[in-house]
């Protein structure tokens, strides 16, 4: 077998005590789809130091690509599929998780919010602010059309609390992926959008870069 020695050494990093101590946590987090941001000092540091080894590990054994990105001076790592494959575990489609339509919609909402506050040091938002946007913001007609199916001057508390609950569920999803940092106290929802929102934006890179043609196909009116 050729390259036997390099085959042997490429996984040797797993014997390093520091890696052994943190590997379980790191591996599970990454496979769960979480983003490891620069502020998780320990895990991020490990990934930085052994970047090549980890990349190789995930590519060889899982058929997944360990990606590193830096946006807004914050670096982060996450696992993604190699171009068009589904990874090695395609039969157990556990790993291949299709984004829920609601996740997609809210993802775009969050991305838009993030870029609208490009110059703010902290992209911090609350449910109240979202509600305000829906009621009075620039895109209020579109938002109201989506959430309530009709335009009215007011919506009932019950309608609002349903929408709030639904959006909160999606926000929890993005919080688990560490794309936002959410905190909820006594019904008050606050969240900070992290630079890892670019993960979502990258998913739709082609569509965004070719927005004109993409949208023209769908013959929409603006």
């Amino acid at each position: 077998m050729e390259n036997l020695s390099s085959e042997q050494t490429q996984f040797e990093f797993l014997a390093i005590p520091q890696i052994q101590k943190n590997f379980a946590e790191l591996n599970i987090e990454l496979l769960r789809g979480k983003t490891i941001l620069a502020d998780s000092i320990g895990l991020y540091g490990l990934l930085e130091e052994y970047k090549d080894e980890f990349e190789n590990y995930y590519l060889r054994l899982y058929g997944l690509e360990l990606k590193k990105r830096v946006h807004d001076s914050m670096g982060y790592f996450y696992l993604d599929f190699v171009e068009s494959s589904k990874g090695r575990l395609s039969s157990s489609s556990n790993l291949y998780h299709e984004l829920d339509p609601r996740h997609t919609i809210v993802g775009f909402i969050i991305a838009n919010l993030y870029l609208s506050t490009y110059f703010n040091a902290e992209k911090k938002f609350s449910w109240e602010e979202l509600k305000y946007e829906v009621e009075n913001g620039e895109l209020k007609d579109a938002y109201q059309n989506l959430f309530f199916k009709e335009k009215r001057s007011e919506y009932s508390t019950k309608e609002w609390s349903e929408v709030k609950k639904e959006i909160n569920t999606v926000l929890n999803f993005f919080d688990r992926m560490r794309i936002i940092e959410k905190e909820e106290t006594e019904g008050e929802i606050n969240f900070i959008i992290l630079p890892s929102i670019y993960r979502f934006i990258e998913l739709y890179k082609n569509e965004i870069e070719n927005a004109k043609t993409f949208l023209a196909d769908k013959s929409i009116s603006e």
């Binding site: 299709e98 339509p101 609601r102 775009f108 110059f119 895109l139 639904e166 927005a211 769908k218």
Partner: protein, 465 residues
């Protein structure tokens, strides 16, 4: 709301509406203010008022909205904002109150604090007077008049102005990504300078604050003097019989309170400055970044917004789940759901461990059983042999006297049982071509204990021979 609160809110409302002019009147007052600003006489006659009203009326954004009635407006102005000069019924002047209201607005527009060098202000306000050690009242006066009323206000105003400046600039900056590339570049240039100024201002505030250390330490030592005195550690107290412990202690406490108040003020300032500096730094960095990649970022933002609008207008938010518009691609993420299963250990208590024990072997019984099995096996073997012989005979000779055969078997084995079993077996195995004839004639065995009807087997397709 409690009844008390309701009535005090009503009262508040009444006074408030008197104190502050409505926007129309305010604009007229502002025009008047500008008129008299540069002239020596602060008086004006009715015609000036009239023309001010006229000017405001003719403003574009006013014209469309309402009808203005001069008389009413004038009456409102007279209600606390404009007054007649005593003795001269045709001359008017702006009240101090009106001037104050206008100046509040003007300060917002053009904050003077942003222009004054902060450090000088600080130096003059924050210097402690002499001889505070012995005069607690003087210290308190300084604290109240100089510190709280003046210096604190000045610094807080500076900070407030600075913070608002930064926030406003950031909000304006966020619009940059919405404009076309060329305008955006210009805007960025402008903002770049703007933030530099803001940064300088922040630095000034920071430098001025450094002075606080001097003040703070001086205060600290002053307070220490009071403390030591109250604890009888200095000669003064022993010398001067006027002082008693309680008084000294009270003075010490007052001094300490002042020191703590100032200390917490400075901490507050530090915190605010840190936040402001952070925001300025971030925005400045972004400006530089953006200048390098403007068109790309702007295009991105605009595209994302377009796609968002499309999604909002064409999706179904739906319950329990939403629907994307047709042909809108769904994307995939890596997301494994790790589940670790652990079976619970139920301790049911009554499950006992089985203790294996050995059977004792009974050799006699074993032998007896073995023999029995052997006999039975042999018997079956015999039956099979008899059956085969008889069946062969049927095939060969086409006719067999079964009952005779069976009698022979009975005789040979001295057992009717063998005969019967063999007979059963034969009957069981014969094929459909064989006919069974039964005659009502008894055949018996040798011992005359076993009787059978005469049975013969005959192959059907053969002719009777």
């Amino acid at each position: 709301m409690s009844k008390q609160l309701i009535s005090s809110v009503e009262k508040f409302h009444d006074v408030y509406t008197e104190l502050f002019p409505e926007s129309l009147e305010a604009m007229v007052l502002y025009c008047l203010y500008q008129e008299i600003k540069d002239s020596t006489s602060k008086e004006f006659d009715f015609s000036v008022i009239k023309s001010a009203i006229h000017e405001v009326e003719n403003l574009e954004f006013i014209k469309r909205s309402r009808n203005i009635q001069n008389e009413r407006l004038f009456k409102k102005l007279l209600n606390g904002f404009v007054e007649r000069v005593t003795g001269q019924s045709h001359k008017f002047y702006l009240t101090t109150h009106a001037e104050r209201v206008i100046e509040i607005v003007l300060q917002r527009i053009d904050n003077p604090y942003l222009k004054f060098p902060l450090k000088d202000t600080f130096e003059s306000f924050f210097s402690l007077p002499e001889n505070l050690d012995n005069d607690i009242d003087k210290l308190e006066r300084w604290h109240r008049l100089n510190f709280i009323n003046t210096s604190q206000q000045v610094v807080l105003s500076h900070l407030e102005a600075l913070k608002m400046g930064v926030d406003y600039a950031v909000a304006e900056l966020n619009k940059v990504l919405d404009t076309d590339a060329l305008t955006a570049m210009q805007m960025l240039e402008h903002f770049s300078l703007n933030f530099q100024t803001l940064g300088d201002k922040a630095r000034q505030v920071g430098e001025a604050i450094v002075m606080k250390d001097r003040v703070y330490y001086r205060l600290k030592s002053t307070v220490n003097v009071y403390m030591e005195r109250s604890e009888g550690l200095t000669n003064e107290s022993l010398r001067d019989s006027q002082y008693n412990y309680e008084q000294l202690d009270a003075e010490y406490k007052r001094a300490r309170h002042i020191r703590e108040d100032i200390s917490s003020f400075f901490t507050r300032i530090d915190n605010q400055l840190t936040i402001i500096n952070k925001r300025i730094a971030f925005a400045s960095n972004k400006i530089t970044e953006l200048q390098e990649s403007l068109s790309a970022k702007s295009h991105y933002k605009v595209s994302i917004k377009k796609i968002l609008i499309y999604l909002l207008n064409n999706s179904n938010w739906g319950k329990p789940s939403a629907l994307l518009p047709d042909n809108f691609p769904a994307k995939y993420t890596v997301r494994d759901q790790f589940r670790f299963y652990a079976l619970r250990q139920w301790d049911l208590g009554f499950l006992k461990k089985g203790i294996p024990f050995r059977h004792t072997i009974d050799p006699a019984y074993e032998l007896e059983q073995r023999n029995r099995f052997e006999r039975e096996l042999k018997q079956q073997q015999k039956i099979r042999d008899y059956t085969n012989v008889i069946l062969e005979q049927v095939n060969k000779e086409n006719r067999v006297d079964l009952s005779n055969q069976l009698m022979e078997i009975a005789d040979q084995n001295a057992s009717a049982e063998m005969a019967v079993l063999s007979g059963h077996e034969v009957i069981r195995q014969i094929n459909s071509h064989t006919k069974i004839n039964v005659e009502r004639r008894l055949i018996s065995d040798a011992t005359n204990t076993f009787h059978l009807w005469k049975i013969s087997l005959q192959n059907k397709h053969s002719s009777n021979s």
